[in-house]
């Protein structure tokens, strides 16, 4: 410090200035501190309620607890639809350092040739709030889980999560009956009870799964949890347990269903079997089947196209949506219509020259046997399946009376109690034709309907139902699939009126004629009726797919397979106390008696002659005692 500079400095003044400035600083420091305290007072005292609420909302989350879906069992308690634990891969993108690298690594280690990073990236964004896990992949296999465990340290933000997934053990033969569950889509979200479905990913799409969705789903529970900022649950503050969905015991007998499926052996067709006394559907086969498990987590485009483009239409439920001409299988019903309306008596005969002509018309309506059956009465007309007799009968009956009577048996109506998506078929009439085509009814069309052809269409379920009502001597019980819901036996509402005939013996006459179909020397089904251990009633039918021009003859060898006739057969047994009624349709198989009859016989044999034929209890014995 040189002398010259010292003289220039004025220590006294310096100290004074410094003191002033630092006093000013103290004032400013105090003012700023007061400012901070004021801010803190505002936050901690004035706004305290707001922030305490916000901090509680932060940490407390209400989580839905989805109920376990009810199981589906066959009438003997065999599991048809179950819930299997599977493993899903989820991601919390907030916890991932490098999303692209992580996803690339996943594709690499999990061996996912079909999935690209872009898809995964898209899925990682599909969620409602930050720090919520997004579903990347479902149904990981053992090897993938192992790979994930090994590489865990490289995969921050990736979690494996357990989830119950619907599984159908016998999917091929059961898919059409059970339907399947699938992911809830945008359309369904609109109509759902959002609270109850908050934690549910799957919903019944078709079949029993759809029909009994309410029962199977159950009641969602919820729990209040404290979470940290990453959404990880730290503890539970309270909970309401979910009420699991109820198990449903179906009327289906898995063994019989399986037999039906095997009998059809991949051919296009359907077999429906009903227990007449109860209306319980024992088997409801549609062939070919498909694997409903594919649909549960979302079917791949490739698989779906495969099913869609299959010419045999495996996704098509023939048993309830396939509408076929019932053909000659309706002749017993028509005979009853004739008797009830006084058109015929059991002894009325006609002479069949091999064709029928409407009065004042020249067109010939041919009997299937070109040279005719000669003189036929009602019984013989059913046994040999004479067409001419029923041309005559239907002409005299007229379409209105015919249609009215057939409606009593459920033709042209959807009569089931709980079969989702069942079609109603077509029972044509003058009125129907005007509405449908805007045309009047021609008398010749009545003749076609008279032999179960023309506009008349029915589903295999309808045919089986009508046969069951016939076996029941007119007692109506709606066909249904649920036998017991939870522990309660199903209660059926009265749906249709029982059929009362003027003379009760007519039932026996028709049933006897149907027995003769199986056992009579002329019976069309006699080859399927050999060595019967019980009394069986049956009726064959052969439905034309391809309309022949007048006088043209049907030659199977010349026609494409798809134009071959459908083979039909209805049957029930034993006649005294019917245990089963069955309808069989095999598409494009040819004549009904030789192609569908044997299948019907095997179904009846299997059911009536089964070994464990003890009566099933209607009430679960254990449960009712405990309550």
């Amino acid at each position: 410090m040189s002398k010259r500079r010292e003289t220039l400095k004025d220590p006294e003044q310096e100290v004074r200035v410094f003191r002033n400035r630092s006093m000013l600083a103290v004032v400013l420091v105090l003012l700023m501190s007061v400012g901070l305290v004021a801010r803190l007072f505002y936050l901690q005292v004035v706004q305290h309620e707001v922030f305490i609420t916000r901090s509680d909302k932060n940490r407390v989350r209400v989580e839905p607890l989805p109920p376990n879906r009810g199981l589906l069992m066959d009438r003997n308690g065999q599991l048809l639809a179950e819930n299997r634990p599977t493993y899903n891969l989820t991601i919390v993108p907030e916890r991932v350092d490098d999303l692209d690298a992580t996803l690339n690594l996943l594709v690499d280690i999990l061996d996912l040739p079909d999935t690209d990073v872009a898809t995964l990236k898209k899925r990682s964004r599909q969620r409602q709030r930050p720090y919520q896990p997004a579903l990347l992949l479902s149904e990981l296999n053992e090897e993938q889980i192992a790979q994930l465990a090994v590489n865990r340290y490289r995969l921050s933000g990736i979690e494996v999560e357990a989830q119950l997934l619907r599984y159908y053990p016998d999917a091929d033969l059961m898919s059409h009956v059970l339907g399947y569950v699938g992911r809830i889509n945008a359309e369904e979200v609109k109509t759902l009870d959002k609270g109850n479905y908050a934690g549910t990913h799957f919903i019944g799409k078709t079949g029993v799964e759809r029909e009994y969705e309410d029962v199977l789903h159950g009641q969602a529970g919820l729990r209040k949890v404290e979470t940290n900022a990453r959404g990880r649950v730290l503890r539970e503050l309270g909970r309401t347990d979910p009420v699991p969905g109820q198990n449903i015991t179906l009327t289906i007998d898995k063994e019989l269903q399986q037999l039906g499926y095997e009998l059809l052996d991949g051919r296009r067709g359907s077999i429906v079997a009903i227990e007449p006394a109860s209306g319980e559907i024992l088997a409801m086969v549609s062939s070919p089947g498909f694997d409903a498990n594919l649909f549960v987590t979302g079917i791949s485009h490739k698989d779906y196209q495969g099913l869609r483009n299959n010419p045999d239409l495996p996704l098509y439920n023939r048993a309830i949506r396939g509408q076929y001409p019932p053909a000659s299988t309706i002749k017993p019903f028509e005979a009853l219509a004739g008797l009830e309306n006084g058109i015929i008596t059991p002894n009325t005969t006609i002479y069949d020259p091999g064709f029928y002509k409407l009065p004042e018309h020249s067109r010939r309506y041919h009997n299937w046997l070109r040279w005719g059956h000669g003189r036929v009465n009602m019984r013989r007309a059913i046994v040999v399946s004479n067409d001419t007799y029923f041309y005559n009968l239907s002409h005299e009956l007229g379409i209105e009376r015919l249609a009215e009577f057939m409606h009593r048996f459920g033709f042209g109506e959807e009569t089931s109690h709980d079969v989702h998506g069942a079609a109603s078929g077509v029972m044509p009439s003058d009125e129907w034709k005007r509405a449908r085509y805007g045309q009047v009814w021609f008398p010749g069309e009545t003749l076609s309907v008279g032999i179960g052809q023309g506009y008349w269409l029915s589903t295999p379920l309808q045919l089986a139902t009508a046969t069951a009502v016939l076996a029941n001597r007119g007692n109506w019980i709606a066909p249904h699939l649920a036998r017991r819901i939870g522990d309660e036996p199903l209660t059926l509402p009265e749906t249709k009126q029982n059929i009362e005939l003027a003379n009760d013996e007519w039932w026996d006459l028709v049933n006897k004629a149907m027995e003769d179909v199986m056992t009579g020397s002329e019976g069309t089904g006699r080859r399927s009726g050999q060595d019967l251990a019980y009394r069986m009633a049956g009726k064959s039918g052969t439905a034309q797919v391809f309309t022949l021009a007048n006088d043209e003859r049907y030659d199977a060898a010349e026609l494409e397979e798809r134009l071959h006739d459908h083979a039909l057969f209805v049957a029930f047994a034993p006649i005294e106390k019917p245990e089963i009624a069955v309808a069989v349709i095999v598409e494009n198989a040819g004549g009904g008696s030789s192609n569908a009859g044997p299948l019907a016989r095997k179904m009846l044999d299997a059911w009536i002659l089964r070994e464990d034929k003890a009566e099933l209890p209607d009430e679960p014995s254990d449960a009712s005692e405990e309550v």
Partner: protein, 379 residues
Amino acid sequence: MALQESLLPNRGSAIKRRRSLWFRIHLDPWLLGLLFLLLLSGLLILYSASGQRLPVVTAQVTRLGVAIVTMLVLAQLSPGALYRWALPLYLAGFLMLVAVEVMGDVGMGAQRWLVIPGVVRFQPSELMKLAMPMMVAAYLHRRPLPPRIRDILVCALIIGAPIMLIARQPDLGTSLLVACAAIFVLLLAGLSWRLIAFLGALAAAALPLLWLNMHAYQRQRVLTFLNPESDPLGAGWNIIQSTTAIGSGGMQGKGWTLGTQSQLEFLPERHTDFIIAVLGEEFGLIGMVLILALYLLIVIRGLVIANSAQDTFGRLVAGSITLTFFIYVFVNIGMVSGILPVVGVPLPLVSYGGTSSVTLLAGFGILMSIQSHRRLLAR
């Protein structure tokens, strides 16, 4: 004013006897006591803020140990030695800043660290926090005060060059705080009010220019500060969660280690920059006022020391260090409570982290040196 009295430099004859002991070990008992009280409070909060992880606390204790030793060592040096060290330190710091600019290590997206492999990772900007006010004070020490225009221009050069380098790293927060430390020296030296007004106007005019030169994330911080709700899950998350933490603490707080915001990890950077929110949540307004009072006592004690310093260099350095210390406190609490934009400024001596504690306690070491070497200088 009883408080003021007791904090005033030792004048009475009764104190003279005690003075000799503290003077011999060159420490200031008031400052030392207050600092230890603050450090202990800080460790208490840190234990809770770290999620009750003792290793974090012991790690911090180790770092504070280093910092305290640094403080004690610096307190032994005479202000004269510090005065002589001002220029070499400043030059060394400046050269290291240049080195960072050329070959610095990139950490957390910014170039702030200088690494001598295997030896040390060092932030030259930390050194500048002390070297800068020392350099400016040393320069003004030999000049007549209040400073004349020529001296102010020289000071502007001394201040400006390193500030530019730090801002380029980019570390806007630190560069502003370092500039602050230097400007405090000028203000305490008696910078004329007209000049202050002029420079203030100049700074205001420069703001748009600053905005244009900001990085995107820096602009985002300012925008988020202006409206945190605009991006509640992104940039606004921090400030919403910290105000929620403080606000939900209320008057008495939720209790030590019982803050849900902090313990459940809603609060980001809860043991570093946002640690004061943990205190606010768990100890309420009472805790906040107490810790603020502790800071204020330290600041007042620092200014008392500055006023009793016997030369220009000591006065200016002590005053600047003290006021800068307060600015850290104000900026941090202001940011966490949502009245200032988010800048990466830790809460002095409470936030987890070693470097800033070393710098701060080194500063207090200088204060103690100035306080306890007075007689020797007063010849």
